[in-house]
């Protein structure tokens, strides 16, 4: 009984001498492998060559500064609340007089840490932030850890560097 029309009929009749000799089939097979030998390889040699992952890839976090170079984060804690992995922790501090060129709001995060072992790169922190302070870069991975103390990213590794600002596609 035929259930589908995808069935293949298989020829089970006696093989011809040419088929039993293997040699024609072997020559055919070797021609195929030789063709592949000279083909261009699709491999991307990862650490040296990187592939563009698209404008919405969620990579390493960055704490943005504004045009004047002031940190945008006001330590409201909404990102920490939104984070499903509870990866973010911070300590808030009040801005002193004379620090207006460092922090945009009166309150700022004195300590801001993301535990990259906990983070699942969901991007909820980016969505939750009312100050547009935290983003997940599309152009940079969180690299491999070699020891446990590298796992927690503090402000030293998160705050944006004004000399190479992070721009996402479609931003001005």
């Amino acid at each position: 009984m035929q259930l589908t029309n995808r069935a293949k009929k298989i020829d089970k009749s006696e093989m011809t001498l040419a088929e039993r000799m293997y040699l024609p089939a072997i020559a055919g097979g070797m021609a195929i492998t030789l063709k592949h030998f000279f083909k261009k390889k699709p491999t991307i040699n990862y650490p040296e060559q990187k592939r563009y992952l698209g404008p919405v890839f969620r990579g390493q976090h960055i704490l943005k500064k504004d045009e004047a170079g002031r940190e945008r984060c006001t330590a409201c804690g909404l990102c920490a609340v939104a984070c499903p992995a509870e990866a973010i922790s911070m300590v808030a501090a009040e801005r002193k007089a004379g620090e207006e060129n460092l922090y945009r709001e009166e309150k700022y995060a004195a300590v801001y840490e993301i535990n990259m072992l906990r983070c699942i790169f969901c991007g909820f922190c980016e969505e939750a932030c009312p100050k547009q302070a935290i983003y997940l870069r599309h152009d940079q991975f969180v690299p491999v850890f070699m020891s446990r103390d590298e796992v927690i990213y503090g402000k030293d590794r998160l705050v944006e560097d004004m000399s190479s600002r992070y721009l996402r596609e479609g931003w001005k």
Binding site: N5, K8, I10, S13, L17, Y22, I32, T33
Partner: protein
């Protein structure tokens, strides 16, 4: 310089060369495998992965050298040693080049010139199976033993066809010395032009003798874990694997010497004339021949790998059928046809055998009813 020292240097160079080629075969094998599977192969250790063999050797040496408690200790150690020894011994009679003229003496670029060179190769090759046998037996492991038994029966079966296919070449040359066989192919008159069938048989058997895919049943992972080297680790395993590559290089050398003219290449007389007949010119001509030989041998090493990464393994009954029922009768046919040719002084006569086989095959394929010919046919779509 004393002739003894020159000979010693030549032997050392040949020894080193086979080891070097075998070492880089392990790299080339993985490179070839990668390229044939559309990937780049090893490329981390050194430029293009060229330091990979050294890294592998380092790894092998630092692994635990384990001897199973129930194993026969001395035989267990002797196995890989034998495999390595026999692999290296057979390169002694291969003429890598013509003669070198030093201090008015003609010195052959060859380990030793014996007038039974081919017999020497055969003897050593059949000794080679002892390495596998002893190792498989001493491991005291059923899988190893099965692998060893397979190796032994396979080697014995294919040695017959190997020898028979060679007899045709020996009949044409009238000598067992490899150097004589090479010399009769002077210039472009290589044996492959006169012995096509013999060449195919010889090559197939060489694959089986080297335990290379598609005939690598002794180390068939799917059924026998690792075959005869299941229990081996560390550098003992390394020796087994390495011996396989040495064997591959040596059999490539033998194939190119017997069927592809060894160090002969077309227009070599013109080249030799242009270089002059003094010692330097002669030595340069010899060097060119040497490189021609190495190039041919390396091509066959590549060919070995090419086949390995193309063909699946044979089943054991297929292997035996192929050896006993096809290759041996065909090689006997080849001997008869060659003999008839020699009687009438027609050196190309064994092409007749090829033509007959091709004709029979073509006729038989054409006679098969058309409808049944395709292997896979889609059922009619309703």
């Amino acid at each position: 310089m004393d002739i003894f020292w020159i000979k010693a240097i030549i032997i050392l160079v040949i020894f080193g060369l086979s080891l070097f080629v075998a070492m880089y075969s392990t790299w080339a094998e993985r490179k070839v495998a990668g390229y044939m599977q559309d990937r780049p192969g090893p490329n981390r250790a050194g430029w293009g992965g060229l330091l990979q063999p050294l890294a592998d050797a380092g790894k092998m040496f630092f692994k635990e050298d384990f001897i199973p408690a129930q194993a026969n200790k001395w035989l267990f150690i002797a196995g890989p040693c034998l495999a390595m020894l026999t692999a290296l011994l057979s390169s002694a009679v291969i003429p890598f080049g013509d003669t070198l003229r030093i201090d008015g003496q003609e010195i052959q670029v060859q380990g030793i010139e014996v007038n039974i060179g081919i017999l020497w190769v055969f003897g050593i090759v059949s000794l080679g199976v002892y390495g596998v046998m002893v190792g498989g037996w001493a491991s005291n492991n059923k899988f190893s033993l099965l692998g060893a038994i397979r190796a032994a029966s396979q080697n014995i079966s294919y040695e017959l066809a190997l020898g028979l296919s060679l007899i045709a070449v020996i009949m044409m040359t009238g000598s067992l010395s490899v150097r004589d066989i090479v010399n009769t192919q002077h210039g472009g008159g290589w044996n492959i032009l006169f012995q096509p069938l013999g060449f195919v048989i010889f090559l197939t058997c060489a694959f089986a003798e080297c335990n290379r895919t598609p005939f690598d049943l002794p180390e068939c992972e799917a059924e026998l874990i690792g075959g005869y080297h299941t229990e081996y680790s560390s550098m003992k395993l390394g020796f087994y694997l390495f011996a396989e590559y040495v064997n591959m290089f040596v059999s490539s050398c033998v194939v190119s010497a017997l069927y592809f003219g060894g160090f002969n290449y077309p227009f070599m007389d013109k080249v030799a004339e242009a270089l002059g007949n003094d010692a330097t010119g002669h030595n340069i001509a010899t060097a060119i021949g040497f490189f021609a030989f190495i190039a041919k041998a390396l091509f066959f090493v590549f060919f070995f790998m090419w086949v390995r990464w193309t063909l699946p393994r044979f089943r054991y009954d297929q292997l035996m059928n192929l050896g006993w029922k096809s290759l041996i009768p065909l090689s006997i046919l080849n001997i008869i046809v060659t003999g008839i040719g020699l009687m009438f002084n027609l050196r190309w006569f064994s092409w007749v055998a090829v033509v007959i086989i091709v004709a029979v095959v073509a006729v038989q394929a054409a006679m098969k009813p058309k409808a049944a010919r395709g292997i896979l046919e889609a059922a009619p779509v309703r």
